[in-house]
Symmetry: C2
């Protein structure tokens, strides 16, 4: 493949962001921030580590790697603006597949009027896509996982574990005729980052947000540690889809706690703002569920507790639980 003509084929015909001074065509891109703070993150996905062509089309892969980055921006309360793509291309990928992969990113980016402003194209033995995103947020309004305070409501968007369910279904090459399985597969291949919902929280004085990329067992522990608080989760309040429960009745409870890459948001807000947060989720057209509370640290260090029936256990990052007080 001619690298130069490929780059030209994925280069935007025009740019949408008014703060862009120089896009692709020089040694670097130039942006003129309009007074807010700039938020940036980077994510890499490698073939046969993070995705496989057996379970995803190139379009899905493009969508998913950008979605993972947008989920990071959403978790900061940031509005997406720009992205750059560095791609390592092995010889067994065709130009058509690569163009599809970029189209997957472009379709998602277009929803947010994001511009592709740079990148790199190199050859290698395995396909690897690194996306850098940049967004904006009003001064001092970035949302940190360290912002939770005792008394807060703990909430999560969407349903949990679906992506893991979709992946398992695809890996086992089962028949995907039912609507339940089609739903799970779609959740795995095309996760939708909760950007609009997070932007809608901008009027709130304080909200802690963390994106659910490794499962809420992990993310709840991150909020607890960063904020210096205990977190109490009620297991029977954690949201799962009927599709997941129907398809994987034996695993759905584990996956809703530790299944990765749902790209939902886990957050904590003062009880007085909980109604506003619910209204905002309704406006954004997404489900939101209260799953617990934030409390003061009761032991030597912050912990996450999970209550099921009348038993309380400690929820570790891995999703592993053990009964309270047993060490």
């Amino acid at each position: 493949m001619d690298e130069f003509s490929f780059i030209r084929s994925v280069q935007p015909a025009y740019y949408k962001q008014s703060s862009l001074i120089k896009g692709i065509s020089d040694d670097a891109a130039v942006i003129r921030p309009s007074g807010g703070d700039v938020v940036t993150a980077v994510d890499t996905m490698v073939e046969d580590v993070h995705f496989s062509r057996k379970t995803m089309q190139p379009h899905h892969i493009g969508h998913r790697v950008l979605a993972a980055n947008l989920s990071d921006l959403a978790a900061m309360g940031s509005t997406p603006a720009y992205y750059m793509v560095s791609i390592t291309i092995p010889s067994d990928w065709s130009e058509e597949e690569l163009i599809e992969l970029y189209a997957g990113m472009d379709d998602l980016a277009a929803r947010y009027r994001m511009d592709l402003i740079g990148g790199d194209t190199v050859s290698g033995r395995e396909l690897s896509v690194t996306v850098t995103v940049m967004g904006t947020v009003a001064k001092g309004k970035a949302r940190y996982r360290s912002a939770a305070v005792p008394g807060d409501v703990l909430f999560v968007t969407g349903t949990l574990g679906d992506s893991r369910g979709g992946l398992e279904w695809l890996l086992n090459e089962k028949n995907d005729s039912s609507s339940d399985q089609a739903f799970l597969i779609d959740r795995h291949r095309k996760p939708w980052p909760r950007v609009s919902f997070a932007e809608g929280l901008s009027t709130l004085q304080r909200v802690a947000l963390n994106d659910v990329s490794d499962g809420i067992a992990n993310e709840a522990n991150e909020i607890a540690e960063s904020s210096g608080v205990d977190i109490h989760i009620a297991k029977d309040m954690v949201p799962f889809s009927s599709a997941l429960k129907n398809t994987f009745p034996d695993q759905y409870q584990d996956w809703m706690l530790s299944g990765g890459e749902d790209f939902e948001l886990l957050g904590a807000v003062p009880l007085s703002d909980w109604t506003l947060v619910q209204e905002n989720a309704e406006t954004a057209g997404i489900k939101i569920t209260k799953i617990g509370e934030v409390d003061e640290v009761s032991g030597d260090s912050p912990r996450v507790f999970i209550k099921e029936s009348d038993q309380i256990a400690i929820l570790k990052k891995s999703g592993y639980t053990h009964l309270k007080g047993k060490g």
Copy 2:
């Protein structure tokens, strides 16, 4: 390797840039730009494509991948501020080697008070390092390759072809006892981006800059095309080191035109500013050489001409030349 403990080991103990609001510890980094424009670029280097552990220590690899990015910022006239590192780690790299690679970046970054503010760590079959850099430049002062104007002096920093010479020497596993060869090896392993020199040009009204990553044959054509001008290079004015000529008497002339990755700067300025540019190079402690002039387009499209003795040839991007007028 425990990914979490590795990330902690390369995480900065403190940050230097006053515009940083949030470094590594949340879903993304947050920056508060202080009024200027923001410049950003990304570069990927893959083991056995862009470098080899046969010819470079991990420390050199780290230095070189960040240097390549800093050279892009220099070519925009930008002051470096931040970087993010996304690394794909195969099983045959040890934690010690990885820490050395990060130290190579960190040592170079420290010269410019740059902060490491984010990244990603994933596993894969081949080592790959993607660096995203961010810098600042005064509003409207970014330097474009499209800014050359007929009548300008064409100049280049440093000497050309050394990096290629160093690589060839290392690949052929020759004895490196002489100081000439040590010089070439050092130019290959530890190129120094021309950041201070480029910053020093900030008082100039206009200067076109392009970093020499693929050889001046390529970069001169990029300036010619972007600016819509012809460029005339005098071959006997193109700077090379005596080390290169002594070591590779048969190849040095080709390599000074098309040997890549010297990370010098090729530029064009009005004749009236040429003295200032020379003084600035002296202040920055680097060599600078006038190698030609910028002229109006004489044919159907912009071209680069190279004059040797009394013959004038057309210099293609590849470094290939053919006599003027013969097609």
